[in-house]
């Protein structure tokens, strides 16, 4: 398997990083779809932001991509395979190529910052090595480089539960990039953060992923942040796509269609 370096984009041998969803459907309860046959093509680079009201299936959509949620029907075409059809070891191998950043950071609280970053390599190291914390030297170097890149090099040995929200999300980003992924998923990564930290986190994500040519698919509540950082915006409501275009094309009538009502505008 070819792997890019940590310093900059994976030169040469970079696979096609585009993601295609075809007729993606998810029903938690039979007969009441949360996702109604959604088809979207994501570009192999840049950020695509998915906006929409709570409970409209954005989180479900993003979790279907790496199969944390089982889709009911449809195809998830990525790196030449249909993610929806993979099982067991094949699924885990495919998951290694997809990094994920979470709303509540989801760090392992009792592990240190550096251990959390190294969790990004768990798809590659054996259980024995993970238990003894014997990661390959290049992974350890890579983890320290990433900690440096997110500005937390001096926090390496601190436990995750001793870090602030913004710091935790930085570790979350470092963990995702530690996978040297071909795709970065972000599920409301700024919703638990204050406005200033939110912008810093978005900048960091865009910069670090951009340097490595990793496309980002992000769920986000904050329309202003979406317009500022994404090259494309997908608006969803009731499990279907109702807007798909560039940020400057997003008008009030689209927002009305996405969120309903207009008093809030």
């Amino acid at each position: 398997m070819t792997q890019g370096g940590f310093g900059s984009g994976a030169a040469g041998g970079t696979p096609d990083r585009s993601l295609r969803l075809v007729g993606l459907r998810k029903e938690y309860v039979r007969g009441t779809p949360v996702l109604r046959d959604v088809s979207i093509d994501f570009a192999p680079k840049g950020m695509t932001a998915i906006i929409g009201p709570s409970g409209t299936g954005k989180s479900t959509l993003i979790r279907c991509v790496n199969r944390l949620v089982e889709p009911t029907a449809g195809q998830i075409l990525f790196l030449g395979r249909d993610m929806a059809k993979l099982h067991g070891g094949e699924l885990r191998t495919a998951r290694r190529r997809i990094g994920m950043v979470f709303q509540e950071y989801n760090l392992v609280e009792r592990l240190t910052a550096i251990e959390n970053v190294l969790c990004g390599r768990l798809g590659y190291v054996s259980a024995w090595r993970a238990w003894l914390r014997r990661y390959p030297a290049e992974d350890i170097d890579g983890a320290f480089e990433l900690l440096e890149a997110v500005g937390l090099a001096e926090r390496a040995g601190q436990r995750a539960d001793a870090l602030s929200g913004g710091q935790r999300q930085r570790i979350g980003i470092a963990r995702a990039l530690m996978q040297r992924p071909d795709l970065l998923l972000a599920d409301e990564p700024t919703s638990s953060l204050d406005p200033k930290t939110s912008v810093e986190i978005m900048e960091l994500m865009v910069e670090l992923a951009g340097r490595r040519d990793i496309p980002i698919v992000i769920n986000i509540h904050n329309v202003e942040l979406a317009k500022r950082f994404a090259q494309r915006i997908v608006g969803m409501t009731g499990g279907s796509v109702v807007f798909d275009g560039r940020p400057e094309e997003l008008r009030d009538e689209h927002l009305k269609a996405i969120y309903g009502g207009e008093a809030w505008l």
């Binding site: 944390l68 998951r95 392992v108």
Partner: protein
């Protein structure tokens, strides 16, 4: 009827009141069955005073007998704790309903329930009858009770972990073993150490007792001393056991702090 009485904020809970009265009546009835009278109590107290009198002063001697018994008890406790802790990890893991399929957890929970159903003394008698007198029977009895305790609490601790942390580790493509090692164990390790040290405490106590039914350790010495009316030696043994339990308490407290 006035408005105030219709709106009583503290209505009488009749079922509870009836239950309390019934409980009191039963207690009085049960006491009458055993002829628990004041005179019976006074004779008992009198006898107790004589017994205490014969215990003092504690016998300072028979050190070799004391040493052999105590050291065997400590060995039984430590070996049983080590085996019990090691065996509790897989059993507790298999019993955790948030990680394992239903039928597996039922099997594991059945095993735990079986280990918990009998007092260690009864288990010790069973093992003495099946494998013969001596420390082996005592160790096996305490291993059983250790599994019953640690595996149950361990399973409950695992069921209370944050699945968000586990989800994130799963999302990296980690296999099941690595999810356990980096996503689950860090969340429960401190509590597991707590249960284990508590069990060592408890095994120390129980290991002084299994000898009474032939399971090895100081219990046998204690039982013999009782039967020979060597009450002064009984007191020496009891004081030594108290000292041992206190040392165990200190050591386990120190262990818990180390692993917070």
């Amino acid at each position: 009827m006035s408005a105030a009485s219709r709106r009583n904020p503290f209505p009488v809970n009749w079922p509870a009141r009836v239950a309390w009265v019934a409980l009191a009546a039963y207690t009085v009835y049960a006491a009458s069955l055993f002829q628990l009278t004041w005179t019976r109590f006074l004779t008992g107290i009198d006898n107790g005073a004589k017994f205490l009198d014969r215990m003092f002063p504690p016998l300072l001697g028979k050190w070799d007998l004391l040493w052999v018994g105590m050291s065997e008890s400590v060995e039984i406790a430590l070996i049983a704790s080590a085996l019990g802790v090691v065996l509790s990890v897989p059993v507790g893991l298999l019993a955790a309903r948030n990680l394992m399929p239903g039928w597996v957890t039922w099997l594991a929970r059945g095993l735990i329930a079986l280990c918990r159903s009998f007092h260690p003394m009864i288990v010790a008698i069973l093992f003495v009858k099946s494998v013969g007198f001596g420390a082996l029977a005592g160790i096996m009895a305490l291993v059983v009770s250790s599994i019953g305790f640690i595996a149950k609490l361990f399973a409950e601790a695992i069921e209370e972990i944050s699945l968000k942390q586990v989800e994130a580790v799963r999302a990296t493509g980690a296999g099941f073993a690595n999810v356990l090692i980096m996503g689950v164990i860090p969340q429960v390790l401190a509590r597991f150490i707590g249960f284990a040290t508590y069990q060592i405490d408890s095994n120390l106590r129980n290991s002084t007792m299994v000898g009474i039914v032939g399971g090895g350790g100081i219990g046998a010495t204690l039982f013999t001393a009782f039967q020979r009316f060597d009450y002064d030696f009984v007191l020496t043994i009891l004081i030594t056991i108290i000292a041992l339990i206190m040392v165990g308490e200190i050591v386990s407290g120190w262990m818990r702090r180390t692993f917070q």
